[in-house]
Amino acid sequence: MNRPVITVNGLNLWYGQTQALKNISLDIPEKSITALIGPSGCGKSTFLKTLNRMNDLVPGVRITGSVCYEGQDIFETNVNQLRKEVGMVFQKPNPFPMSIYNNIAYGPRTHGITNRQELDEIVEKALRGAAIWDEVKDRLKKNALGLSGGPQQRLCIARALAVQPKVLLMDEPTSALDPIATSRIEDLVMELKSQYTIVIVTHNMQQAVRISDQTAFFLLGDLVEYAETEKLFSQPGDKRTEEYITGRFG
């Protein structure tokens, strides 16, 4: 395993009275793909959203334990800076209702880049990085909502890349897409791993097997098992993991 970028220790999270995460500890290694799997409501998305503090926005949320990004407690650092470094791609493609160019330039502009030429370069680089440049280079001024689902999701990935994050969190990024668009995203994610640390929540166990280096299995708020993907799927160490991956529940 590579050196850890994110270290989680004894993380508990409550939504009001309900405990959604129970004493989670795990390390996320740099420049690799970590898959989070488990049945609906197991806490995997909640865990993902804790890593860039998007859970802060939920009313009544309470968190204990520590999450460190590059050795720093994320609850002590500036949240906007954290989210710049730890980008996110959502389940449903959510481009802004503005032009393709402005979608990508939004993040860099937010962080103070106004020079047109510099922005042009960032936009091109981000779109190339997300393997969508060739499709959209002639219609950068067109509304992003005119794209279909797959390209929209790659645009959202490009938008996340444009602020030069170190980590990309992906919350079931292919669950709203057809198989062909899904496989293009998967290819892209595997390419991105050479430069970014990727944490991906997925419902689709085959997807976890295909793309991830290590897999964490969540159940009812517990982290049941965390191991190299190959090992977790071939010789699961916990009976519950085995039951889940062989399809006996979930």
Binding site: N52, M54, L57, N80, Q81, L82, R83, K84, G87, M88, F90, K92, N94, P95, F96, P97, M98, Y106, G107, T110, H111, N143, L145, C156, R159, A160, V163
Partner: protein, 290 residues
Amino acid sequence: MKSKTNLFETIVHGIFLVLGLITVGCVLLITIYLIISGIPAIREIGLLDFLFGDTWASTAAQPQYGILPFILTSIYGTAGAILLGVPVGFLTAMYLAKMAPKRAKSVMEQAVSLLAGIPSVVYGLVGMMVLVPGIRSLFHIPDGAGLLAAIVVLAVMILPSIIKMSITALEAVPKEYEDASLALGATPEETYFRVSAPAAKSGIAAAVVLGVGRAIGEAMAVMMVAGNAANMPDSLFQSVRFLTTAVASEMSYSSGLQRQALFSIALVLFLFIMLINAALNFFLKGEKKP
């Protein structure tokens, strides 16, 4: 059995149709009545002299019927009200839709609703008693009643519609957009102004147009604070007369061509309102499309 149900449904259907036609009939009646009674004076005076004549002297020995002062006053007055009211209304809506704590929001929203329910004569009264003397002493002028007072009163009067429609538009912005912006490291405020507001722009534009409609059609409050002399609106403190107040202030004692000319003014006002409605429909349609 079946035909009985059908008969019943036909009757119910008929009743609803008749009720619906009453509304349409009223609109048609008013339109036709305005056109019929508005045209003769325009014919007699001449369209250009009527619309662009800069003197209104309906009771002079040599009467003149130029309504340019009223048209310009209505336009300036409305534009001024929009200039003042829209920023205040939009920012209030932004605060209430996105930032306000729950309690503050519910209290302020009720206040906004109340503001909408205050009769216009009360606005006029308060304007007369507070605003007009205030303007007089603030700017050291002999009389505070005039264009500025009317603009301020109108600006306050259009606030509720602007605020309420803008809130609706801002709250309809999908949360996904805002999440995406926050996840890029933007602050909540940046997110609201750079993502939420642009995403709600057609609804906000509709709110502005609605405000224009309210402002241009308001008569009572304006009559009480605008001074009501048929002057060209060449200064903010000028005593002026709006299209609405031109009709209202002379109707009771008018006769002959003068009365017909008042109908023509009403017709002009009606055309303005139609235009504004068309604009409103345009923006509301734009909102439905992605």
